[in-house]
């Protein structure tokens, strides 16, 4: 079966012809944005569960969170500030490499990773002191579900950033070729946006 193919085309060392670019957007960037769309829909399903528990359920609690529980809005607010700042440092890292400022790239990536780790640690501590756990009712399920899903995405983002930082310190990336930083950057901004939505809908409203 495949001998037939080889007879026709023995010696395929030439590689594929370059594909035509039929769109202005780079394929990997488009792929990352579409992937983010998928992850946003996953968050959407968790938000749907939240909506059912809090709004649709005829036995929904009248206060949110139901008494006597409370959400640590202040600590989470600090966390929000940390994460938003990390988006700025991420953007700075990318702006740096576009201008061939390697130190800026490395510093920006490190700061972003640092702040992301601080976010996660704060979240762990918050979980330990919050006063309820996953089996304490539907509101807790929704709370841990949404914040936990988000935390998992932060972890993935930190991994991607670490890989990018590793390569940045080894001298990779240039003003022309930096998709390896841009893609984690876009993902990180998505993580930030998602946190703002989670924070507002779960903690504040």
């Amino acid at each position: 079966m495949s001998a037939h193919a080889e007879a026709l085309h023995g010696g395929d060392h030439h590689g594929p012809p370059p594909a035509n670019q039929s769109s202005r957007i780079a394929p990997t960037i488009l792929g990352m944005f579409l992937f983010i769309g998928t992850e946003a829909m996953l968050f959407g399903s968790f938000f749907a569960a939240y909506f059912f528990v809090r709004v649709v359920n005829p036995d929904a609690p009248s206060t949110w969170p139901p008494a006597p529980n409370e959400f640590p809005q202040f600590v989470a607010g600090i966390n929000t500030a940390i994460l938003v700042t990390s988006s700025f440092t991420m953007h700075w890292a990318l702006q740096s490499i576009k201008r061939n400022n390697r130190r800026g790239l490395q510093a920006g990536l490190l700061l972003t990773i640092l702040m992301g780790t601080a976010f996660l640690l704060t979240q762990f501590i918050e979980y330990a002191h919050i006063g309820f756990n996953t089996s304490d009712g539907a509101f807790a399920s929704v709370f841990f579900g949404l914040t936990g899903l988000h935390g998992a995405h932060v972890l993935v983002g930190l991994l991607l950033l670490t890989f990018a930082a590793n390569r940045a310190f080894r001298g990779h990336y240039s003003p022309e070729h930096h998709h390896g930083v841009e893609l984690p950057g876009i993902y990180w901004h998505f993580v930030d946006v998602m946190w703002i939505v989670v924070y507002v809908t779960v903690y504040l409203i």
């Binding site: 957007i25 944005f33 938003v84 953007h91 998505f190 939505v197 504040l204």
Partner: protein, 231 residues
């Protein structure tokens, strides 16, 4: 995903990390305003939400598609042959067009390809009902080819896509033209001129484009209105 030079259907604003970062900033502003409004009154929060969402959607819609990049047409120089690509539909049999082609072909061997786009109404384009348009284009093309051959030119013809710029692009893929002639009705009665076909062709392709203004009168009319405008 949008048309070559027509109106944009959907534009994707998310093409880079810059766009993502701007989205982060936008999200912060959006939610901050809603939260502040909700602290004042719930109905106010709802109104702010509606207004901001509308603004966001409007911003997504209002972008103009930038021009496609300039395409290079490989010149296939075969001795003295001058290859001319003509795009015309209703003005195919016009006197001015024929004069322009003759003028271009003067004293060199010519190889003229006439492409007649199968222009179609909007409804028929969307229902893919092309047969009538193709037949009409074929009839016009046939008559025009006979007339041009009668003037001593070496010509051949093709029916092209209903969109004249697309027809031009398709023809250039197999016919490396040295010059392009686009023949339209006068300004004011030309659909193509209104849609900027000539300017688009000039910016898309690095082949000199001559615009001939003609009408659909037959060969028998005297050489009266219409001026050939060189590229």
């Amino acid at each position: 995903m949008s048309g070559v030079y027509r109106g944009v259907v959907v534009q994707n604003p998310f093409k880079s990390e810059d766009a993502a970062f701007r989205f982060v900033l936008g999200t912060i502003v959006y939610f901050a305003l809603i939260v502040v409004a909700s602290l004042i009154a719930t109905w106010l929060a709802f109104i702010v939400f509606l207004v901001l969402t509308g603004a966001a959607l409007a911003m997504l819609r209002g972008r103009k598609e930038p021009q496609p990049p300039r395409e290079h047409v490989e010149r296939v120089a075969v001795e003295d042959t001058w290859r001319v690509l003509v795009i015309a539909n209703e003005t195919l049999q016009g006197h001015d067009l024929r004069n322009e082609i003759v003028r271009m072909a003067d004293r060199v061997a010519e190889d003229v390809l006439v492409v007649c786009p199968a222009l179609n109404s909007m409804v028929r384009t969307w229902t893919s009902d092309e047969d009538g348009a193709r037949e009409a284009a074929a009839a016009r093309l046939q008559a025009a080819l006979e007339a041009l051959e009668g003037a001593g030119l070496r010509v051949r013809g093709e029916i092209g896509d209903g969109d004249p710029l697309q027809a031009l692009e398709d023809a250039l893929r197999s016919f490396s033209a040295d010059a392009i002639i686009i023949s339209t009705h006068p300004a004011g009665s030309s659909n193509w001129l209104e849609r900027g076909v000539v300017e688009a062709a000039r910016s898309r392709f690095d082949v000199p484009v001559t615009h001939v203004v003609g009408d659909s009168t037959t060969n028998d009319l005297p050489a009266d209105p219409g001026h050939a405008q060189p590229a």
